[in-house]
């Protein structure tokens, strides 16, 4: 989008602005996951509340970006590359907003968990969060660089998270069987784990859209879906 110039500099500016806002949203979302995990691990309720509160900013930005995209579709009637970019932007925007919600969810769970005694130190959850966050980072890097190889890499990493999610599930199951008092906490942690797994799925969604933007092919529901079964 950036290499070729449009005759209308205003149009050009609008496209660039959407990309910048999208990246800003991405940065906010990455930060939200980081802080939510930190709040969970450090049992920091204040930080957790901040994450929940900051989700409003993410939601507002989501609306702003979508409106910008739709206005451009209506007024500029983009074609080819620009059309793909805007379609991609709309979908990535949706993914990012969902990720933001997940982060807020994790923060809510962190508050609940902080009211109960700690079960054991978190090991896999921060790892999952870290991987999920780096997947978002890489998928957005792929968007910036229009790098399909990087986008494909994100798809591969999803498996790691899925495996970790299963591992967490099994571990928590043993905790629950050992001590019924731990069931409540274990279930909440399971939901957190599930949220992180969902985040990674959204990251894959972003990467897929980047692939679509660059190549024009929709690669969603690709062979990895069957392979992971």
């Amino acid at each position: 989008m950036d290499e070729k110039r449009h005759t209308s500099t205003h149009y050009e500016k609008e496209l660039r602005e959407v990309k910048q806002r999208l990246l800003y949203l991405g940065a906010l979302v990455e930060k939200a996951i980081e802080l939510a995990t930190e709040a969970l691990v450090d049992r920091n309720t204040e930080l957790a509340r901040k994450v929940i509160c900051d989700d409003n900013v993410i939601d507002q930005l989501d609306v702003e970006i979508e409106e910008k995209c739709i206005r451009m579709l209506a007024l500029r009637q983009p074609t080819a590359r620009d059309l793909r970019f805007i379609a991609t932007a709309i979908k990535i925007n949706g993914h990012l907003e969902r990720i933001g919600d997940m982060a807020a969810n994790i923060a809510e769970k962190a508050i609940i968990l902080s009211e109960e005694p700690p079960m054991k130190p978190y090991i896999d959850i921060p790892r999952m969060a870290e991987i999920a966050r780096s997947m978002i980072k890489e998928s957005l890097d792929a968007l910036v660089k229009e790098d399909t190889a990087l986008a494909r890499k994100v798809r591969m990493e999803d498996e790691t998270i899925d495996n970790l999610n299963e591992q967490v599930f099994r571990e928590l199951l043993t905790f629950m069987m050992e001590d019924p008092k731990k069931i409540h906490r274990a279930l909440i942690i399971m939901q957190i784990s599930k949220s992180l797994e969902r985040i990674s799925d959204h990251a894959v969604g972003i990467a897929d859209m980047v692939m679509y933007m660059v190549t024009g092919k929709i690669v969603r529901h690709g062979p990895t879906c069957q392979a992971s079964e």
Binding site: L23, I123, E130, R133, L140, V144
Partner: protein, 564 residues
């Protein structure tokens, strides 16, 4: 002027011929008409003219040259008309037959007052033509003679004028393309010389200015390259235009590379940085913010955003200066933690002591069993305080360099053997297996025996404390390739998180905050080890896996003298 002269000559000559002819024609006109008619040809010969006799009605009566039959009425000829009216007529007409101007002079022949006819003399103006032609040819020659040298002179003059200008042009072209060296040679003192002087001065000044600019640029680049702060310049298109080496280094450690020509969001995707930039754009004033960058080991940067001054409005650039304050922040945190820890560590045993003393005072002293139990707790806590103060004293004296190490050549096997028995009871209580493996013929190390023992005690103490019942502790000593004896203490304990390891040497830093204190540690053990290892010129390396165990490697330099 030549033309005027030719015309004057012509009219003068014509006048002369005319006067001549008029004189002749007057004489002839005195003759009788018949006489004239008879003596026409001699008359023509004498007067060197064509003589025509015309009667009063205009009919040609006789002509010295032409056949009468071909001639029409001459009454309308201007010279005849003039002669009829004025008594004498004249005209100059071009004769096609002769190809020359003819001068016609006509005179009336009168008998009394009556005009009987006219006599006309016509003479071709050969002389006049010749004279005029000659005059013209003179003129042409003169003009030619004048023009050629003047051309030559003009050419020479122009060359003289143009050649220095051409020289100047080729010189300035060379200056423009940057291949000129030296100055223009000044050859004259006139305007061109002045121009050459000015150009020389201009070029000299230009060179000076360019040199100064280059120097300034080199200075700036050197300054940017050598300064510890990272510098980044964003152009008016919000794209990164420049970054210095320090910033490249800082960012490379965080896995951020290749950011030229990207927007700050594309390059960093950092909310704090973008917010700071937005604030700068809104406020226009310089903005100072603290941001953290990177994921696994984030760095903290102080960012100053300001405008680059001295540029036109449409080329506004923004400069960001990054100052790495990670270490500073860390030290600040350590100091804060230290104060908090010291007070906490001192306060906990003190609270216990004070609490139990108060209980005793309130009557518990009377119950012997309880009193004894309480006194025991008080004494335990007092000892703990004592240990804490001892450790702090050791630490501060090592840090201040007040402890003098008495270095000697010692065998590490000896020290290990002397230390291990101290843990036998504790290990047996937790049913821990302790393995020892010391390779044969280990070289001596240069060390202080007591401090060496203290190092091993602290490390082994940790291993025993943090290994659950039934675990295994192994201690080994080998010589490595780089001239160190490496003592390794491995346990199957709870392990330490990777992110905690760098902080382990900090005073009062505990990886597991609750457990460690329960186990009676002061939080200073590893700190002391770290400092002692430093004093030994050795190094300490900790590897750990959570839930699996920890390995502490101590590397002591070998005593090269090998004396016992």
């Amino acid at each position: 002027m030549g033309l005027m002269y030719a015309r004057q000559i012509r009219s003068e000559l014509i006048d002369e011929i005319k006067n001549d002819l008029v004189a002749q024609i007057r004489i002839v006109a005195l003759l009788a008409k018949g006489d004239i008619e008879r003596k026409l040809s001699p008359l023509a010969d004498i007067s060197r003219s064509r003589v025509t006799l015309i009667d009063a009605s205009g009919r040609v009566k006789a002509d010295s040259e032409k056949d009468l039959a071909e001639m029409d009425s001459h009454l309308n000829r201007s010279e005849i008309q003039e002669a009829r009216i004025k008594g004498q007529g004249e005209a100059v007409r071009y004769s096609r037959t002769l190809g020359v101007d003819m001068l016609y002079i006509a005179f009336p022949i009168t008998e009394g007052s009556e005009v009987r006819g006219y006599i006309r003399f016509a003479r071709p103006l050969f002389e006049v033509k010749k004279a005029v032609d000659q005059q013209y040819s003179y003129l042409y020659k003169c003009i030619l003679l004048a023009i050629i040298p003047s051309f030559i002179i003009a050419f020479l003059l122009a060359r003289k004028l143009i050649s220095p200008i051409e020289k100047v042009i080729s010189y300035t072209h060379k200056v423009c393309s940057g291949e000129a060296s030296g100055t223009l040679l000044i050859e004259s003192n006139d305007d061109v010389g002045q121009l050459e002087k000015d150009i020389n001065r201009m070029v000299r000044e230009q060179h000076e200015r360019v040199r100064a600019a280059y120097e300034e640029k080199a200075k700036l680049e050197a300054a940017f390259a050598s300064m510890a702060e990272g510098v980044l310049v964003i152009n008016n298109q919000n794209r990164i235009e420049f970054l210095n080496r320090s910033l490249k280094d800082i960012l490379r450690n965080e896995g951020i590379a290749d950011i030229l020509d990207k927007t700050p969001l594309e390059a960093f995707r950092n909310v704090e940085l973008q917010d700071a930039l937005d604030l700068f754009r809104d406020s226009g004033g310089p903005v100072l913010r603290e941001i953290s960058l990177g994921q696994e080991t984030p760095i903290i940067l102080d960012v100053t955003i300001s405008a680059v001054h001295g540029l036109p409005q449409e080329e506004q650039k923004t400069m960001m200066v990054f100052h790495d304050v990670t270490r500073l922040k860390k030290l600040e945190k350590i100091r804060e933690d230290f104060v908090a820890n010291v007070t906490h560590e001192i306060k906990t045993p003190l609270t216990a002591i004070i609490g139990f003393i108060e209980t005793l005072e309130e009557g518990a002293i009377k119950e012997e069993v309880t009193a004894k139990k309480f006194l025991h707790i008080i004494s335990e806590n007092a000892h703990r305080l004592g240990r804490l103060v001892d450790d702090l004293l050791i630490l501060s004296s090592i840090e201040l360099g007040e402890i003098t190490l008495r270095f000697e050549s010692i065998s590490i096997a000896n020290v290990i053997d002397s230390v291990l028995p101290m843990f036998e009871t504790k290990a047996a209580e937790k049913s821990l297996t302790v393995d020892k493996w010391i390779s044969d013929g280990l070289p001596f190390i240069w060390s202080d025996r007591d401090r060496m023992a203290q190092i091993l005690v602290n490390i082994l103490d940790n291993a025993v404390k943090f290994t659950p019942s039934g675990g295994k502790i192994s201690i080994s000593a080998v010589q490595d390739d780089s001239g160190f004896v490496v003592v390794k203490v491995t346990d199957t304990g709870m392990g330490i998180q990777k992110s905690e390891i760098p902080r382990l040497g900090e005073r009062f830093y505990r990886a597991d905050k609750t457990r460690s204190r329960e186990l009676g540690g002061t939080g200073l053990g590893l700190s002391i080890v770290k400092h002692l290892m430093k004093a030994h010129n050795g190094s300490i390396d900790i590897e750990s896996q959570v839930g699996r165990g920890t390995t502490v490697s101590l590397a002591f330099p070998i005593n090269r003298l090998q004396k016992a």
